[in-house]
Amino acid sequence: MSEVVPLIEALDPALYGSKAAGLGQALKDGLPVPPGVALTGSVVDAVASRDEQVMRQVMESVRPLGGPLAVRSSAVDEDSAEASFAGQHLTLLNVRSADELASALSEIWWSANSDSAITYRQRVGLFTRPSIGVVVQLLVTPETAGVMFTQNPVTGADERVIEASWGLGEAVVAGRVIPDHYRVDRAGNVLERTAGRKSIAFRSLPEGGTVEEEVAPELVDRLCLEEGQLAELSRLADRCEEVYGRARDIEWAIADGRLYLLQCRAVTTSGP
């Protein structure tokens, strides 16, 4: 068993964490996931302990991806706890060097071993040592990104709900903008288009990290998705439901005109 594998081989959540396993399965099923590698919890632990041999192994595996990179935590025991660790762990974007990658892995290790993470684990009845896998992917630099629910999470209606904004999806995920809001039926017909107020966008910096930028005034209230892109998102929702089942919560991005799936998980809240 290798401890650093291409994402498409990271199918065991007990080794690589549920995020890695989900993305690995998505790649295997032909979904448009950016290329990446998955690291086991013990690899992350070793890098956080400054084990240079393990770090070299990680670098060799990551090099073919090119860069810049997105480094995302993938908690190993999320599902067994039946508890969502969303927000407890970290995603670090635009990582550009070996030193930055080592620091990112160390930061992710500590995010799973922080006071707040331990307090949370105790509250949900988890008394075992945290193990945190990591997904390292090529960072896409999107024109537009956001989230999509394959079933309306508020009303429970059988329709796609899409929220979108300019730049990296963090603006939507972190609630930093009022995103565009779209509803699309299962046949791909657009039921609603409501422009949001997208005053800021997150962009990658050439020297690493991300920056919050003001959006050009003419784009703030302009819809950021076109008819064809909504149709493509609707088809992605179909494929995700075929692979994973109904009621999915999807993070997506459109870069250089191409749609990418960044994350797909079960909806944790549902309508009446």
């Binding site: 400054r50 160390s106 930061e107 500590w110 071993n113 922080s114 006071d115 993470a117 331990i118 040592r129």
Partner: protein
Amino acid sequence: MGAPIDVLKRIPLFAELDDNELERVASVFKERHFSEGETVIQQGSGAAAFFVIDSGEATVLVDGKEQRVLQPGDHFGEMALIDAGARTATVLASSELSCSGVTFWDFRPLVEENGVIGWKLLQTLIEIYRSERRQ
């Protein structure tokens, strides 16, 4: 990577450990960085790790009142190694802060595998307890 032994020697909890034992303790430490203004530990929160400051400064607050400033070589949160009970103070990074830290999860197996270290820690804890009762 590990915490400096001469720093660990000054920590009351480790007072009875010899150099070999201190080296074993030092080996399970990991480096952690905090940005200026970041909360390192929060009073009342569950405790995950013990830290020694490698560089930078941190401020200790109890009930929102500043108590003291910690410098390189200072340490905080050692009770977290034995008991994940609530933090008794808040520590804020007052500059860019680099620490060596060890969690309860990494420290416990070290003690479980080494009865001599465990026994010395027990003796030290009793000594601390007696000393506090005398005061």
